[in-house]
């Protein structure tokens, strides 16, 4: 009980805050740890900035375009489909 109490009271250091950020973004933190992290973020510019950079990193990861599909590659795959269709009959 005492330990719980002190754990709740104890403020995070930046190193620990940074380690919790993916759990935070994944909504995987307990309510008390979430509150501790948010309290820390509210007071710490460095960690607040770090979280912003993690979000930006995720945004950039989601924006990378894959290589274009070449017509040859597409036709090659479609040819597989046509061959299968012929083998099994048009009714599938």
């Amino acid at each position: 009980m005492m330990r719980l109490f002190t754990a709740w009271r104890h403020d995070l250091v930046c190193r620990d805050a940074v380690a919790l950020m993916t759990d935070y973004l994944e909504d995987a933190l307990s309510r008390s740890n979430r509150a501790r992290l948010e309290r820390h973020l509210a007071q710490c510019d460095g960690c607040d900035e770090y979280l912003r950079q993690m979000r930006e990193t995720i945004r950039l990861l989601g924006r990378i375009e894959p290589d274009d599909l070449s017509l040859e590659a597409r036709d090659e795959i479609v040819a597989l489909f046509l061959r299968y269709r012929e083998e099994t009959g048009e009714d599938g």
């Binding site: 190193r15 993916t22 935070y24 994944e26 900035e49 993690m54 990193t57 995720i58 599938g92």
Partner: protein, 232 residues
């Protein structure tokens, strides 16, 4: 991409989809539920009927991403392309049995990841979670506070580094990740698949997946920070 903090609970939507899929048929309820895969049932029906145009459309939609995903499992481009081709054969053979329990994309990627796992490094896979925070210990003081705090750069991404340069940088950072980190980051952040789907595909526990995701994102962020610092 949705801001992660506000991303709808992925496990819930996954479960919802599973429940929906258990119902008799997806296309029996066309307007009532805005199922993400609702427009897919028509596509699936066409594919199953052997519609060449529908298949070409599918290939155009997913093939480029599939090559990218397969490349997360093997550094060899031709091995990756072979895995993708294998996956397409699996899709062609199995599409009539697709029941809409997941989105079509998830179903296809599941087939692909299975092929890519076997095609990729044949060495036994170990869960290399990596060590340390990849930030460098000297970023923090002995007490754990920032000694070398992050310098803001997010507002300057567009201004200081032109978009293709950022893309190249991020791609390179992904390529440099340890295998499992690269696979998790690619499936989750690049392709936007749910945590539940990725855990299942890679056979990872929830905790391990999050650790891998965290380490991977941390390294990519560090690569971006490094580039920004070098720039000026």
């Amino acid at each position: 991409m949705i801001e992660p903090a506000f991303r709808p609970r992925v496990t819930l939507s996954w479960r919802q989809r599973a429940v929906r899929g258990a119902r008799p048929a997806l296309h029996d309820q066309p307007t009532l539920t805005p199922v993400p895969g609702a427009d897919e049932s028509e596509l699936v029906a066409r594919l199953c009927a052997g519609d060449e145009l529908a298949f070409a459309e599918l290939v155009e939609r997913y093939h480029p991403s599939m090559v990218r995903v397969a490349s997360a499992f093997t550094p060899n481009r031709s091995v990756a392309e072979e895995a993708v081709q294998d996956a397409w054969i699996g899709v062609i053979r199995g599409v009539c049995r697709f029941e809409g329990r997941s989105s079509l994309k998830t179903w296809i990627f599941r087939i692909l990841v299975n092929r890519a796992k076997t095609a990729g490094t044949r060495e036994p896979r170990t869960v290399e979670l990596g060590t340390g925070d990849d930030l460098g210990g000297d970023r923090f003081s002995a007490g754990g506070a920032w000694a070398d705090p992050p310098v803001p750069w997010t507002d300057e991404v567009v201004d200081r580094i032109v978009a293709p340069e950022v893309a190249a940088l991020v791609r390179e950072a992904i390529a440099q990740l340890p295998d499992l980190q690269r696979q998790v980051v690619t499936l989750r952040d690049v392709e936007g698949l749910s945590s539940a789907d990725v855990r299942e595909m890679l056979d990872l526990s929830e905790g391990n997946q999050r650790v891998l995701l965290h380490r991977g994102r941390t390294r990519v962020r560090a690569a971006l920070e490094k580039a920004m610092r070098e720039k000026g």
